[in-house]
Symmetry: C2
Subunit: 722 residues, 2 copies
């Protein structure tokens, strides 16, 4: 057993990182090792041996003296050496005791494969908390429970601490997946694509070691060139943002978050027993951090193949080389859809191609070297595109025409690829059951050319490389804050409202209620958000006086706790042009709502003729508030033409919000209508962002509408719920 | 050579169909047969032999007496037997003579592989016309030129009349592709998926035998269960509609049309040298006929796998069985996106599952039999879903857990699948490099279970089956026509306008001009389309008189040939409430446009307060006009929220137009605004459809806006270009 005899330099390495004991274990105990074939306690040992694990394997079993020809020990205390990592595959009720034992033995990391914890209801949660307490006490890190485990394909370790069945070649892509099922088929897909893999982790209930920690670990691992992440949501999104934000600056993170439909989220909840409902927050987190997001796991794996070997393009200009017409048309469609462009070639390039290509070739972009074109024609086309300054990346269609020396074509593609001057992908159309073309395929693969079987698939992969370039070149900057705000004032208002409900306890708490209009407008004013001139009054006389001060026309709104949907109740009357109209409106309201002392009236300047905007805020558990922007009225109500971002907003992000609604052109003015002052709208978004980040007590907030004019932008109605 | 000795019953069959000589040839001559390896004239013979062609092969070569061990003949006249089909692989200039020879020899079909015809400019077109004339003279049908050829995988024929390199097993999917490159990789994809294929045709320049003819042939072929079609547009769309309309009622047609971006269309044009620009018409043709349209060729092939073995679901209710959590979440997302629903299970079903599943199984929809679940658990879940009346189809996630007898699971899935009660797809997650799982895969494949490697892919395939159910159950009905129209009147107006330009020649011709408002409104009136009351006048006095007759408020529009963009020139003044306002408006217009005798004024009832609608018409070469519908103003200009259909419209189609714009809820009325009378809007669409189909001379038409009210719907501005 080489796994039993190997020592070497590995043991001399100190463990630089806490998680090294998990991903680079020098010795592994299998607690619950079994001689029963196909049991997890047997499969894991089999996998470690099969994968040529370079460390020591210690099966732990009370009765057996040997499992799979490896000496077994009754307990971990009987193992004469140090143990870095333990697998636990015993019934859940015994786990707390075993964790304590592991602590006593000095085991640093534990993978709990056993199920029967938080995913199984209250009793399981209690059990999980019990072993977690023990783990904390002894400084044991827990991976799982109810999980697969980890794999490290680095030949220095060959650590296959998992019961799955795919044995990856060493590569540069590392995977972390909430779901073992998904993680396994992603790993399998990379295997089928012959890409190779670096590390793998699927942490099930994830009670201790989190996806964020794993992502950080992969980020620091030099051998990891790109990371694939699958999740159904985040328990601690702030931790993830902090971790992934650092990593995504260094290497691409390709991610997929499922549960995007309500039904999918329901299935996810019943699967992991914990996570979010339908949330748009995860996608916004990905966007903010610069994570490449996928909604199709096959596309994600196909893209990973390109990331594993190709450089990132410097722009969106693609050159196409093809030896068959139709697939170039399909590829063009997809490349254009992905935001790439096909520039014309330079006169020099065209001249060169005319000299080197067959007479029937089509000179342009795409360059069609035609099916009878051979290696020299492909090579000349490649060389020309490499020299073209305006070309950032290359798409190749290569059908293995029977009358062509396809190996020689492949060797020439590889030769150019090895220069790594520009990224390339190849749609390689062939019959892989024929030995002749297997050879050609091998030349391409060994030469690091990402090969695909469909033009759309290859084009999508190149599109992903370009998308990553876009993400990387987008510096969102820092969240913008304004100094001219009165935070203390807002603190006072919120604290006053917060104590209302629980004033006996003296503890602040959210009252789940809407603030009064007066409070709302005071808060907005304190953060420099212009509000239409207003007065809060109690009598008709005061109302007329207020209207005169503000100037006609005015709006009058009935104001009382119970009245939330004001416009539905006739509680708002707009465009009052005179004192008599104000009096009539207030009399009507008194009739409708009763003349209680609780009834007040908000008199406010009426501002017609602007563009109605809406800004909304929604607080989120464990995460900064979401901010929504859109045009008011039918645009939000019927067309749902709104955009969300995760606060705190930067200036770039606020600007992107304006430009990314579908009706954004309306902000510029059309059909004789005037545009709005976009800088003012952006400022409002940024001030709102600052407000709600300063005051996480704010649960919901709507400014609807904000009236935007050519010069000014003024909120005319707003609600805040704390 | 069995291909030389085989005779059998084939020869006794009379050829029932003209294209039988192409697809079921009893003997094939290769004109241009070559002893040079890798030349097309050699590869085709090699392929025929390799594929065990059951008919006779006659290489034609002036010098060689034998090619690939088959007796060769100097000319076709030296061949002692009848020849059904000839391949032509000689330089283009010799083709017309050879076609004449083929005619004289009585050859019924010819595949011209040679290039150098219409794709090569004028000279090539002339050559193509020359051989076509000969072909017509002798009744020879031409496939190609510049094409691959055909394949018939029916073991009765094994006709591989093509130079490609994929040798499909017999199956039930037939392929027709404009592009040989695309056709070949689709065929290869079916081969890789191990589906099998029935017939294949890629007809290059398609100068005679068209895609439509091939589709019809496949439609009549009993062995073809589904058809895959790839095109970049249609030369003769009417022929295609007629052909495909019949076929799509009998069997699914899965289609992809590329060139959907402007750049893609450009690439397509340079590829096939002929077809349409960016057209939306092809998608509309697919929609009208009931063709399943794809924009991703890989998805199309994956869907074909499901169609090749599965029945069509009777509804959109899916039951999910899974033995792993995450992939079920991903599948749920995709299934829901495809319009499927996951109904709750009946109490009886839940009871049954509780009795039969493992305690840790999750009972519901999805049913999670968990990774440790075995054959009996899968079987019980399958049986339960088969009994559930509200379940129409089944999605299975099957990961080959190492501790499960996966063969037995597969056998049980197959047993249920064989009953063909409900369609199913299986996302089969395994490591195919392991022999153990190859066996499991073979059981599933041999049992006709469509297997996929990704949950999204499997879910998409099931989604396609459901989409086809929807298409099949959508009976659009017949185009609606109204009897209360005055066709003669419109004929007169159009003919009067048509002769204007060319009155010396006496020949009618389109003048490419807009009709006068008077003519436009007369035409609309003649087809029962309500127009706001109008008078055409020349003087101020007449205008005032007209306004009084119509009733204020009115609109006045300046009317002269040169004034097309009226509103841009100040040529329209709305909401004139009195005679003096009318006089002032007309005086202003005379100043602006000059008081020529060509200047007239349209006085029309002003109708504010309705919902603005827009209906547009665009004529198309070789096809019925497109009809566009949308809301006016920003909805069309900024949001492009419009829908197109191919006329003539049926009532269902007109109704679908109203409901398929994004802002369709506005037609029902929202926010206190009144809705419109939808029946009246539908009637206008149908009357416009009838008008433009009665008069193909109409090149463009816009009714913008149509004012729609709760009761009436009235066109207030319209343009017609002939």
């Amino acid at each position: 057993m080489n796994s039993q005899t190997s020592t070497g330099k590995m043991l001399d390495n100190t463990m630089a990182h806490e998680l090294d004991s998990l991903f680079k274990p020098r010795s592994i105990a299998i607690i619950g090792a079994s001689s029963k074939e196909l049991s997890i306690g047997n499969v894991i040992i089999k996998n470690l041996v099969h994968y040529n694990y370079t460390g020591k394997i210690y099966p732990i079993n009370l009765k057996e003296s040997e499992i799979r020809n490896i000496k077994a020990y009754p307990t971990i205390f009987d193992v004469p050496d140090e143990i870095d990592l333990a697998h636990i595959i015993i019934p859940s009720k015994f786990v707390p005791q075993i964790i304590e034992d592991c602590g006593k033995k000095g085991i640093k990391s534990v993978i709990i494969n056993s199920a029967g914890f938080s995913e199984m209801g209250e009793e399981g949660v209690a059990l999980q908390n019990e072993f977690l307490a023990k783990a904390k006490e002894y400084g044991v890190r827990i991976f799982g429970p109810n999980c697969q485990g980890i794999i490290n394909a680095d030949p220095q370790f060959n650590a296959y601490c998992d019961f799955t069945f795919t044995f990856p070649k060493p590569g540069s892509i590392s995977i972390v997946a909430l779901s073992g099922g998904v993680g396994a088929f992603i790993m399998q897909s990379l295997f089928d694509l012959d890409i190779g893999m670096r590390m793998y982790a699927s942490n099930g209930n994830a009670c201790d070691i989190s996806i964020s920690e794993v992502v950080t670990y992969y980020g620091e691992d030099e051998g990891t060139k790109a990371i694939i992440l699958y999740t159904e949501g985040f328990r601690n999104p702030r931790e993830f943002i902090a971790a992934a934000n650092r990593v995504s600056k260094q290497k691409p993170i390709l991610a997929m978050k499922s549960g995007r439909t309500e039904e999918g989220a329901k299935a996810a909840a019943s699967h992991t027993g914990s996570l979010a409902g339908v949330d748009i927050a995860t996608e916004l987190i990905f966007e903010k951090i610069g994570i490449l997001s996928f909604d199709n796991e096959e596309e994600m794996c196909q893209a990973a193949m390109a990331f594993s070997t190709q450089p990132i393009p410097k722009g969106n200009k693609v050159g196409i080389i093809t030896n068959t017409g139709g697939p170039a048309v399909i590829a063009t469609d997809e490349l254009i859809s992905a935001g790439l462009q096909l520039p014309n070639l330079s006169t020099k390039a065209i001249q060169k191609l005319k000299e080197t290509q067959l007479p029937e070739a089509s000179i342009g972009n795409p360059i069609d070297v035609v099916a009878t074109g051979g290696a020299i024609h492909f090579r000349s086309a490649l060389d020309v595109l490499m020299e073209e300054e305006q070309i950032d990346c290359i798409y190749i269609n290569f059908v293995t025409a029977p009358f062509t020396d396809t190996d020689e074509v492949a060797r020439n593609i590889v030769a150019v690829n090895k220069l790594r001057r520009k990224p390339m992908v190849c749609n390689f159309m062939t019959n892989m059951s024929m030995e002749r073309y297997q050879t050609t395929a091998k030349i391409l693969k060994d030469g690091g050319v990402p090969c695909y079987s469909f033009p759309t698939t290859a084009a999508k992969a190149l599109g992903s490389l370009y998308k990553f370039h876009k993400i990387q070149s987008r510096d969102i900057g820092k969240a913008k804050t304004f100094p001219d705000i009165d935070k203390a004032k807002v603190e006072k208002i919120i604290s006053r409202n917060t104590f209302k409900k629980n004033d006996t306890s003296g503890e602040p708490s959210s009252n789940g209620n809407f603030l009064s209009s007066a409070d709302v407008y005071e808060i907005l004013g304190a953060y420099g958000i212009a509000v239409a001139n207003w007065r809060m009054v109690s009598t008709t006389d005061e109302a007329v006086k207020a209207a005169n001060e503000i100037g006609f026309p005015v709006v009058v709104k009935a104001e009382a706790k119970a009245i939330v949907h004001k416009s539905d109740m006739g509680g708002v009357v707009i465009n009052l042009k005179s004192a008599s109209e104000v009096i009539a409106a207030i009399d009507e309201m008194k009739l409708t709502f009763g003349s209680s002392e609780n009834l007040q009236f908000l008199v406010q300047k009426f501002l017609p003729g602007g563009r109605e905007l809406i800004v909304g805020v929604a607080a989120q558990p464990e995460l900064e508030p979401l901010i929504m922007f859109g045009l008011g009225g039918v645009f939000v109500e019927i067309l749902k033409d709104v955009v969300f971002k995760l606060s705190p907003l930067t200036e770039l992000e606020a600007d992107e919000m304006l430009s990314s609604i579908k009706a954004s052109k309306l902000l510029d003015g059309v059909r004789g209508q005037k545009g709005v002052n976009k800088a003012r709208v952006i400022e409002i978004l940024l001030r709102i962002s600052q407000l709600v980040n300063d005051f996480p007590q704010i649960q919901e907030m709507d400014l609807n509408p904000i009236m935007a004019f050519e010069d000014k932008t003024i909120a005319v109605d707003a609600r805040i719920k704390i």
